[in-house]
Symmetry: C2
Subunit: 291 residues, 2 copies
DNA sequence: GTTCCGCATGAATCGATAG
DNA sequence: ACTATCGATTCATGCGGAA
């Protein structure tokens, strides 16, 4: 099967209009959080965040299949010692847009940012909001089963420090790279808490998104040959994982640095590129390059 | 020090009016969830939840000291396959009431048993919303430090042997910014994710609250002799833990079953009881019993 | 080849200082 | 008074060089 990987340079709000209705099986993305990543993205003020996001989510709603799923990784910022409410407001606003807020997964980050403050601890979790267009969406639960945890066998084991840690890594989340260890073990369904580390030390770039995160949702919500969309593709993790797992994918990013980085990291023969080219005062045109 | 434990029978909305202004250091509670526990609390409809809770939170705001903290354990119900938004709406409404939404802790339930529905996995986490009246609240972070992660055993143990010498000669160039900060370090500050088990073995009542939960917040936000309030005291966990930790405490519950149960489980000599007694058409009076 | 150790670096947040 | 920038703080991870 030929797997298509598409990459667009531009503002998602506009670029998405080029995609046909009901053509995507899974949207999984991590938009710039309010006032974060100012260097690479613009940095949206918390008060303007909902207003900024709604036109994009409207397009996402249109391109998603009725059986598809939208997974939104987001966390509100602390402003003046208090958590902003823009994520709450966004959920409420998106429901009015027609989205069903089906689930909130928790990404429990093993290595959260260090620091100490008089009035709060380190923030070590993020929201993974699941939205759907219909109650009857595709979900392949058997694809993400995990080995049964130690807790099931012996609760006699006392809670030494080492046991706790060992238990943490195996419990619930469903991640772990050595699948071979699972063979022969009884497997169970995971929970809605995902316990994994951020990837802070990739070679030339930093991806806030560890590969396991899109991988888990791609396994859970799509099958081979389905289409995955990431409207804020950043360093391209979602595209690489989709390709490896034999799903078509579409990535969009507004920054040419990320666009070029992703382009250089994917085999050009397998990449569809769309970048806007401006000719002075003429109406912006788009060059559609299939290599 | 004499520790006072008070127990009120009645509706928190009304009973709280008897408490003086700025008299409580910590409020920690788990109110009845919408449409849950119908048998005991009557079940508040999700659409009416905010409306029902706001008069209570207004009283809580009044009785809390400016340096105090309100920890609200709450989780929205899934209605027709979708998460209700009343918790989001409650946060927004409470901010308009004057509360600061300082933090959202996650209670990751360690031993939540794997389960499966067609459209979702087992829900193994709950929100612990922290509200304050002011940015300058009491927080005793040193009381809740946790053992350092395993990585340190491998790293710092050996480091101490070789690097101590080097550190003496060439100061400040070792691990991190200052090696001496790390040598011999065995505990670190926790994060805002609490990984606790649910309590599965309760004698003859169902308490969703494991003792560790109020205990952690009581350690973090109060000192001995402070006052803890639980306006939905249920089976009384908050009171027992407060008493054990030498904090005064006040519990309120609307159901006489819970009231009687808590009463029977605390040494009567140490319990202050307040229960309303009705005399037909006469104006309801209250009997204040100190035993 | 393994294991071990040194080190940079993160969707951070606060308080002080500067314009 | 109000915003912008900066230094200090802190813990876990994975890479790469060394033993």
């Amino acid at each position: 099967m030929e797997i298509r990987t598409g990459l667009f340079l531009g503002d998602s709000k506009d670029v998405l209009k080029q995609l046909p209705d009901s053509s995507v099986d899974l949207i999984v993305t991590s938009p710039p959080y309010a006032d974060q990543r100012k260097g690479t993205y613009g940095g949206i003020h918390p008060d303007k965040y909902v207003e900024w996001f709604l036109p994009i989510s409207a397009q996402l709603f249109r391109v998603l299949k009725p059986t598809g799923t939208f997974v939104l990784n987001i966390k509100e910022k602390v402003v003046a010692g208090e958590r902003s409410t823009y994520v709450m407001e966004l959920i409420i606003a998106m429901r009015k847009q027609g989205w069903l807020w089906t689930e909130e997964f928790i990404w429990h980050k093993k290595n959260s940012f260090p620091g100490k403050w008089p009035n709060r601890f380190r923030d070590s979790w993020e929201r993974l909001l699941q939205f759907n267009k219909s109650k009857h969406f595709n979900m392949y639960q058997n694809e993400v089963k995990v080995p049964i945890g130690d807790w099931a066998k012996g609760r006699l084991k006392n809670l030494s420090a080492t046991d706790k840690v060992r238990d943490n890594t195996k419990n619930g989340s469903g991640f772990g790279k050595n699948v071979s260890n699972w063979l022969g073990k009884e497997s169970v369904f995971p929970t809605n808490v995902l316990h994994l580390a951020t990837e802070c030390n990739n070679k030339n770039h930093s991806a806030a998104f560890p590969e396991e995160l899109p991988e888990w949702f791609i396994k859970l919500f799509t099958k081979q040959g389905d289409t995955v969309l990431d409207p804020f593709v950043g360093s391209g993790t979602t595209l690489f994982v989709s390709k490896r797992m034999k799903r078509h994918s579409i990535g969009i990013d507004i920054t040419s640095e990320y666009y070029e980085m992703v382009k250089s990291r994917i085999n050009p023969a397998e990449l569809y590129l769309i970048e806007p080219v401006k000719y002075g005062k003429t109406k912006p045109q788009r060059r559609y390059a299939i290599r």
